[in-house]
Every structure is written in structure tokens, then in C-alpha cells.
Symmetry: C2
Subunit: 82 residues, 2 copies
């Protein structure tokens, strides 16, 4: 069993209204030192695979097909066994 920690973020050039809203809220709460906020998604996926290479290729496929929108988002992930 492998645990994949998947991070999906908007590409740097893509406008991020959710991040801007969080930034505004933090500032209005008194956190004046905040410079910028970018919002993204985080998923923990447990999956069976015969090897780390197989798990890696499965998770890459999942990201490309469902978890991330390749037009506006980047993804990366870490794999741990167990």
C-alpha cells in the first residue's frame, strides 16, 4: 500500500480569486505582514501497487485525467510506502 500526497496549484500566471480573498481576510484580521496568498488543493490517496514505479505512474495518470486541470494547474506529489 502506498500513500500519495498530491498538491495541485494554479499556474503562477493564472488569476487566483480565492487566494486574493484569503489575503484580504487575513489583512482585515490584522495580519498586515502578509504579502500574497495562493490557494490550492491537497489530497491524500491510498493505493495498492506492486512497486513504487507503478504507483508513481498511476498517480501521474490520475492527476492528468481527473485531479488537476492541466490548462491552468500544476501538480506534484510525494509517495510513501505503508
Amino acid at each position: 500500500m502506498y500513500l500519495a500526497r498530491v498538491y495541485v496549484t494554479l499556474k503562477p500566471t493564472v488569476n487566483d480569486p480565492q487566494g486574493l480573498t484569503i489575503e484580504g481576510s487575513l489583512k482585515s484580521l490584522g495580519f498586515e505582514t502578509v504579502d500574497s496568498v495562493r490557494a490550492g488543493k491537497y489530497m491524500e490517496i491510498r493505493l495498492d501497487a506492486a512497486s513504487e514505479a507503478e504507483a508513481k505512474s498511476s498517480v501521474t495518470e490520475m492527476c492528468k485525467k481527473l485531479l488537476a486541470n492541466p490548462v491552468i494547474e500544476d501538480f506534484r506529489f510525494e509517495l510513501d510506502e505503508g
Copy 2:
């Protein structure tokens, strides 16, 4: 300038309909090896701080006050300088 990478996840006992939906979609796409999916949030926050300790205490406060709901969510973060 510090970069905080904040991860907000549902507590293990909390029901996660978003994760269940992703799991179902992955399975219907043919990823039969998926065992479970938990969905969470990921944020990258740039902030000014005089020291790493100050940045850490700021980000902890932000998580407690706005970014995470302590009743149902856990948070953790990493801090990098630069």
C-alpha cells in the same frame, strides 16, 4: 520574506464527502487500485517577519483564526526563507 506552505486536512474521524466523490470518480475511470482518498486544502502564504520564530507564530495564529476550522480540521505548515 518567508514562504509558508499550509496544509489543512479534515480530522480522521470526520466524514469527507469530497474525498469519497474523488475516490468514486477515480474508480469509474479505471483506477481500481485506489483504496481511499481524503481531500484537503493547500495554501502558499508569503509574509514578512523579523525571524523564523515570528513567522511561525504568525502563521499558527492565521490557521487558528481563519484558515482552518479547529473543530473538524487539522493544520500543519512548513516555513522556508526567501
